[in-house]
């Protein structure tokens, strides 16, 4: 009985479809081209076509409502639909192809009431292949290699005992001064290592500064409080501070509970930290790490309790508040440099020098690129144009190693 119904419906659909074909099915698209997407794992075929002549934006209702893309592996009977695109679109990336299989693609324009055009097939079959190396990223690989090797080279040089000059970073004295003031007043120091986890390099830099601050508090005998937003940061901070107190010969003065975790949630953490500030009234506050909206909340609360404040962050958005509300601020890369400077480790100073070489590379590329662009704009020099496209599209772009 069921079968009977189904057959009847099928017959109706087929018949109706055939009628629709003859009446209002759109004309098919043309020039279907299927090519293997370069530089991929071999699972994507880029299909493109020219729009059906009936696909016009100025006709309403539209005569083409979508394009269906079908594919068939050579050797199989049936075409399988792999995706559809809205009218006006003429490309589709089929990312579900199987590597090294030969496919034939066809595109059908579909009109209102699902009336399908005749299929337009791609002229040639396509075989998706996997490349062994992403040629579009060749120059990028070279740049990565250059930067990495310079950093490594300078680390090696620094470790071999050669003195590397790093300019004095203003604001580091501010750290010493602040701890001194807090000790004089007999009040605490508060250190906020930002709200991100230990896998953020700014947090790591902050912990380096913390090691300096805790050395000072251990020497001077001031209490140091470190509220953290991440449990892993808490552990790292505890280990760092403990080591400083041992080094200063005052392990008895180290209190694990002064370095505590509040909450992973940003404002939960800030609420807790602000509460601690107004209750303990520290005389010196340090904010070193990643900060978001809490920067101003912390800095203003610190201001209201009259604390000396020193901040350091590479978060561009939060720098204005620290610059305005704190007594001293380490801006962006200065913060990393300060942390390297304080750690005094040869490797840290070496990597700083490596970064400077990176900046020289930027300046060089900018000067060459801008000169080429200017010359190319002023004269109709072909060589300047070639140089410009080479730098922009190849060295800094994704057009491959050579033109």
């Amino acid at each position: 009985m069921r079968f009977h119904h189904a057959a009847l419906i099928l017959a109706l659909i087929l018949g109706w479809n055939a009628m629709a074909h003859s009446q209002d099915a759109p004309r098919p698209p043309s020039d279907v081209i299927a090519v293997d997407q370069p530089n991929d794992v071999g699972n994507t075929v880029d299909v493109s076509w020219s729009l059906s002549p009936d696909d016009r934006a100025d006709v309403s209702p539209r005569l083409v409502t979508r394009y269906d893309v079908y594919r068939r592996a050579v050797g199989e009977e049936e075409f399988v639909k792999v995706g559809d695109q809205p009218p006006g679109a003429s490309t589709l990336a089929d990312s579900n192809a199987v590597r090294d299989t030969e496919y034939l693609y066809q595109v059908v324009a579909v009109g209102p009431d699902e009336a399908e055009s005749a299929p337009a097939a791609a002229a040639a079959t396509v075989v998706p292949r996997m490349e062994y190396f992403r040629r579009d990223r060749a120059w990028f690989a070279v740049i990565v290699f250059c930067i990495c090797s310079t950093v490594v080279a300078f680390i090696v040089i620094a470790r071999s005992g050669r003195e590397l000059y790093i300019r004095k970073i203003p604001g580091l004295e501010a750290v010493d001064e602040a701890v001194g003031r807090a000790t004089e007043m007999g009040r605490d120091c508060l250190f906020v290592p930002g709200i991100m986890d230990i896998n953020d390099i700014q947090t790591v830099a902050g912990i380096n500064v913390l090691s300096r601050v805790s050395q000072l508090t251990a020497e001077f005998g001031a209490r140091l409080e470190v509220p953290t937003a991440r449990s892993l940061v808490m552990t790292a901070a505890r280990e760092t501070v403990e080591a400083s107190y041992y080094a200063a010969g005052r392990p008895d003065a180290y209190n694990e509970d002064d370095i505590y975790y509040i909450s992973d949630e940003q404002f939960g953490y800030v609420a807790g930290a602000m509460g601690a500030m107004v209750r303990e009234r520290p005389a010196a506050c340090f904010y070193m790490g990643v900060f978001y909206a809490e920067s101003l909340l912390l800095a203003e609360t610190g201001n209201s309790i009259g604390a000396i404040q020193v901040a350091g962050t590479a978060m561009p958005a939060q720098l204005p508040f620290f610059v305005a509300a704190c007594d001293y601020t380490l801006i962006g890369e200065e913060f990393f440099a300060a942390s390297a400077y304080l750690s005094g480790e040869a490797s840290q100073l070496g990597s700083l020098r490596g970064q400077d070489v990176g900046k020289l590379l930027v300046a060089f590329l900018l000067l060459v690129g801008c000169s080429a662009a200017t010359i190319a704009g002023l004269t109709d020099s072909d060589s300047a144009e070639t140089a410009l496209t080479f730098i922009k599209d190849h060295v800094l772009g994704d057009k491959g190693f050579l033109p």
Binding site: F140, I143, V144, I147, Y165, I166, R167, I169, I198, N199, D200, S231, L232, T235, I262, S263, D264, E265, F267, G268, Y269, A271, G272, M274, G275, V278, R279, P316, A317, L319, P320, F321, V323, A324, I331, G332, E333, E334, A337, L352, R353, Q355, D356, G358, K359, V362, A363, L365, L366, G369, C370, A373, T374, G377, L378, L388, I391, K392, L396, G397
Partner: protein, 308 residues
């Protein structure tokens, strides 16, 4: 001290009276809901007839629909609204100074936010991706009926083991075990961040800055403002980079460039400040709208209480 206490008491009494007045006279702070029933057919392969299941849903409706049939006052939501208002005022009370009300709201906030993140991560990541791949059959029968994974993927034992090692940190001893997953976590971050930053923030930024310093129009005429703009951009980038150059002392020409650099940075920070102010005021406006609209019914910008 005495006049201050008196002042506070007076303020509290007046405020309380106002609230009671609003609530009694206008019904402010009430929430109305409607019960909705959804009938869903389930196809059971064993049964011939499709079974029909009725699902109950409660939908919130705007207050001006309160006299319509089926709409009732929701005690749970009304209570919630007053709790929300109390929380809002509790946090704002910190502006006056630290006080017990703020401390209570702070404690609630810290506790609920930690649990919130944990619950969400549990259902969305641990159940779906970890359990879904390790125990697909069990998950299909219980928590994720729509799961399509067929066979257990034993590779997911690796993150499971690492997860247990990470949680070992909560134990009194043997905390070093957690360093292994931690190392994985940090190594992975270092790896993908290095590539992402170098491509988008280094090479692409250089590429974006390469521009002609002297701009000419289509007819070959000299474009003064466009040229000045391009020169300013390229020059500013270079002087700012000089400020961040650590290998030489900032004296002489380098010192001058660095000084120009810090000025550009300050202009940048000024612009940042202006933009930030804009955002923060909007947040305050959002909160005030909640108090005046949803709670006290003083304003009605969305027309949810027209004809009342």
């Amino acid at each position: 001290m005495k006049p201050q206490t008196l002042g506070w008491t007076l303020l509290m009494v007046v405020g309380g009276a106002f609230l009671i007045g609003r609530a009694v006279l206008t019904g402010a702070g009430t929430v109305y809901v409607q019960d909705v029933e959804i009938e869903v057919e389930i196809e059971d392969e064993a049964e011939e007839e499709a079974q029909v299941v009725t699902l109950q849903r409660v939908e919130q409706v705007p207050p001006n629909a309160r006299s319509e049939p089926g709409v009732r006052l929701s005690y749970v939501h009304t209570f919630g609204l007053w709790v929300a208002a109390a929380c809002t005022l509790g946090i704002f009370s910190f502006l006056w100074g630290d006080n017990p009300l703020y401390k209570v709201t702070e404690a609630i906030f810290v506790g609920s936010s930690a649990a919130y993140a944990m619950v969400v991560a549990f259902w969305s990541e641990l159940v779906q991706n970890l359990c879904g791949n390790l125990l697909p059959d069990l998950m299909r029968e219980t928590l994720i009926p729509g799961l399509k994974v067929e066979e257990p993927n034993l590779w997911y034992l690796v993150p499971l083991v690492m997860a247990i090692m990470l949680l070992w940190r909560l134990m009194p001893s043997g905390g070093w075990i957690s360093r292994w997953p931690l190392a994985f976590f940090i190594g992975a971050t270092a790896g993908f961040r290095m590539m992402g930053y170098l491509e988008a923030d280094f090479t692409q930024q250089i590429s974006n800055t390469i521009m002609p310093l002297i701009v000419t129009g289509a007819d070959g005429s000299f474009q003064f403002w466009a040229s000045l703009k391009n020169m300013t951009i390229v020059g500013s980038v270079l002087v700012c980079l000089t400020y961040f150059f650590f290998s030489v002392e900032h004296t002489g020409p380098v010192g001058w460039a660095a000084r120009l650099g810090i000025w550009v940075l300050m202009i940048t920070f000024g612009a940042s400040f202006g933009y930030t102010v804009m955002g923060r005021i909007a947040l305050l406006a959002g909160r005030l709208e909640f108090l005046f609209d949803d709670w006290l019914w003083l304003i009605d910008p969305l027309g949810r209480r027209l004809d009342m």
